[in-house]
């Protein structure tokens, strides 16, 4: 699935691009986080909308937001609006089982929409695409 699998143990970069993942499915989310870290990202995970908003009130703000839509306390659209009030133009990726819940309220640039089950390779490609070139992880193609 991966185009160029790592040939050695990947370095966990602390200076890589920061991805904030918001999803109440803890097990799957942690797995994504682990693979992303192996692929050179700096990843933080929160498990509901309220915690996501709390996290977004302090620095450092993420380079990209990956969020579910249907979650406890605050939904993905709200989290996105708050995040973009803190950091205008923040790239956002929706990963959801309810794609029809995505609204235009999330603003520009329009979030990339993934319907679960998500293919990790495709998610990785999307992440690399939405990040500005200077913020892409060093060890990735």
């Amino acid at each position: 699935m991966l185009k160029s699998p790592p040939s050695q143990s990947p370095p966990i970069s602390q200076r890589g691009p920061l991805v904030l993942i918001v999803d109440d499915d803890a097990r799957s989310t942690r797995l994504i986080a682990q693979m992303l870290r192996e692929d050179g990202f700096n990843v933080e995970v929160v498990l509901d909308g309220a915690r996501a908003i709390a996290r977004l009130t302090r620095a450092p703000l993420p380079d990209v937001l990956v969020t579910d839509l249907s979650m406890p306390h605050a939904d993905g659209n709200s989290v996105t609006m708050f995040a973009r009030s803190q950091k205008p133009g923040l790239p956002v990726i929706f990963v959801t089982g309810y794609p029809h819940l995505a609204t235009s309220l999330a603003g520009e640039p329009r979030p990339t929409l993934f319907t679960k089950p998500v293919n990790y390779a495709e998610l990785l490609t999307a992440l690399l695409r939405v990040l500005p070139p200077d913020r892409r992880p060093e060890c990735r193609p």
């Binding site: 699935m1 699998p5 797995l31 990963v95 089982g97 679960k116 089950p117 990790y120």
Partner: protein, 523 residues
């Protein structure tokens, strides 16, 4: 008549002369006689009722004087008769009863004969002449009364018979209209089951005109396998406890309509008298609509339930997919093992298949608004043909497209309509697969307001009453049972209808779509 009267009364020219002589002598008395006459009338209630006032009385007194002058004028010709008949008619007109007329004449007779006795040289002869003259006057008066009476009787008779005739004609018209205009089939059958009454609705539903069907056996209205048995049922069982029975009715065009019958029996004498009236309602469309409504409700209910479930399936699938990706990465890291990677790929494919099924199902269960665009029937058929041609060849099935001579353009969501064609043609091909060979036809036709698409195959057919449009109903191994359910939904979303006519050796699915055009807003 006047002469005949004079003869009968024996009023002679000599009498006329005597009357004239009397007139000359009596004239000064006329005014007094007239006044006394009307004084007497004034005193009498019934006679007085016809008078309207003193002015009128004065006028009447003058005319009575004139009357006496003329009566004693010596000229008794036709114009005299006419003139005095007019006076009689006037009495009739103002409603003076004949008995007052008679007493009035008696009064005048007494006065005149008294005057004759007092003044005339030949009182006896003059009195006789005056009596004959006054008898003539009474005859004239009676003649006018009788004239009026017979006119009234004739008129009353005429009015009565006119009324009777009109009432009868109106009643007949009323009944005829009730039968003719009733929105139900009304048939009358004689003892042998021959048709004797046939109303307009019966003509409309069956296509048989009255003049061609009257006298024919009602058997021609029944499908062949029901002949005899149903004719008997219609004429006997219909009158049973529930009073109604449903039957199939064969139209002139060979179509079958469903009709609910009520019957009314009556005694008949002649062989060709109606013994049973049948009143039928065509319930074909209602039945079809009830069936469609039931279908739509069922789909809506199942859809809501299943949509929720389908979403919930996506989350565990997501976990599975990610863990497979993780496994794959670990296998690659440890040095590729072709067997294990293959296994991982199989799991990946299966997950993808499940994910697609969920998406398809949600498409079906959660109505999505159509995108209606101008669609060409020929182009639509061409795309479908390109896709199914290979499957048909693989199954050794001959596939033909039967297109109308001119293209038909209509508003439709063409990708979804294409899905309808692929589903139906795919089913037809699969139905032929077990037997091997066979023929599938995709046919398009234009009707005045609809486009009709038929998919016909010569396979084994569909069991009667199979709930083929129900989600998850499938006769195929590995079928999801969603194909026809989705098809049904897409067709009804297009405000169209789908029905199937199936028997072993020929199955036709018929999709009928309204021939609407896109308006500017849709494009």
């Amino acid at each position: 008549m006047w002469d005949e009267l004079k003869r009968y009364v024996r009023f002679t020219p000599a009498d006329a002369e005597l009357c004239a002589a009397f007139g000359k002598l009596a004239a000064p008395e006329f005014s007094r006689i007239s006044q006394e006459f009307y004084d007497r009338i004034r005193e009498h209630e019934g006679a007085h009722a016809v008078l309207t006032g003193e002015e009128q009385v004065a006028r009447l007194q003058r005319s009575l004087v004139r009357w006496m002058e003329r009566a004693c004028g010596g000229v008794y010709d036709e114009s005299y008769f006419e003139e005095h008949s007019k006076i009689g008619r006037m009495h009739v007109k103002i409603g003076l009863s004949p008995r007052y007329m008679l007493t009035a004449m008696a009064l005048i007779r007494i006065e005149l004969t008294r005057v004759a006795a007092e003044r005339c040289p030949e009182p006896a002869r003059t009195t006789n002449a005056l009596n004959r003259l006054l008898d003539l006057e009474v005859a004239i008066m009676f003649e006018t009364y009788q004239e009026a009476m017979s006119a009234r009787i004739r008129n009353a008779d005429r009015l009565k018979s006119e009324d009777d005739g009109r009432a009868l004609a109106r009643l007949e018209q009323l009944y005829a209209n009730a039968v003719e205009l009733a929105p139900v089939l009304v048939l009358g059958l004689d003892r042998a089951g021959n048709i004797r009454l046939w109303n307009r609705e019966a003509e409309r539903v069956t296509g048989y005109a009255r003049d061609e069907i009257l006298g024919q056996s009602s058997d021609i209205l029944l499908p062949e396998d029901l002949r005899g048995t149903l004719a008997a049922r219609l004429t006997s069982t219909v009158a049973g406890p529930q009073g109604s029975a449903e039957s199939e009715l064969l139209t002139r065009a060979g179509k079958v309509r469903h009709v609910v019958w009520h019957a009314a029996h009556m005694q008949a004498n002649a062989e060709d008298d109606v013994t049973v009236f049948l009143m039928g309602s065509d319930v074909t469309d209602r039945k079809a609509m009830v069936e469609r409504t039931r279908q739509a409700e069922k789909l809506a209910a199942v859809g809501t339930l299943a949509a929720g479930l389908a979403h919930e399936i996506r989350n565990p699938l997501n976990g599975a997919q990610l863990h497979v990706a993780f496994l794959e990465r670990a296998i690659v890291k440890k040095g590729s093992d072709a067997g294990m990677l293959e296994a991982v790929n199989v799991v990946n494919d299966e997950i993808k298949r499940l994910a697609n099924l969920v998406t398809d199902f949600l498409d079906f269960a959660r109505p999505r608004p159509l995108t209606l665009l101008a669609t060409s029937l020929i182009a639509l058929f061409a795309r479908a043909q390109a896709i199914v041609a290979r499957n048909a060849e693989k199954a050794n099935v001959r596939f033909t497209c039967d297109l109308p001579s001119a293209d038909v353009e209509f508003a439709a969501d063409s990708p979804r309509l294409e899905q309808v064609l692929l589903n139906l043609v795919g089913n037809a091909i699969e139905a032929l697969e077990p037997s091997g060979g066979g023929h599938v036809t995709l046919r398009g036709r234009r009707q005045p307001r609809h486009v009709v698409i038929e998919i016909e195959d010569d396979g084994p057919g569909i069991p009667q009453a199979a709930p083929i449009y129900d989600a998850f109903f499938s006769t195929k191994e590995g079928g999801t049972g969603l194909g026809l359910a989705v098809t049904h939904r897409i067709v009804t979303d297009h405000k169209g209808t789908i029905d199937v006519n199936s028997r072993p050796g020929r199955t036709i699915f018929r999709v009928i779509l309204p021939l609407t055009q896109t308006d500017g807003a849709d494009s």
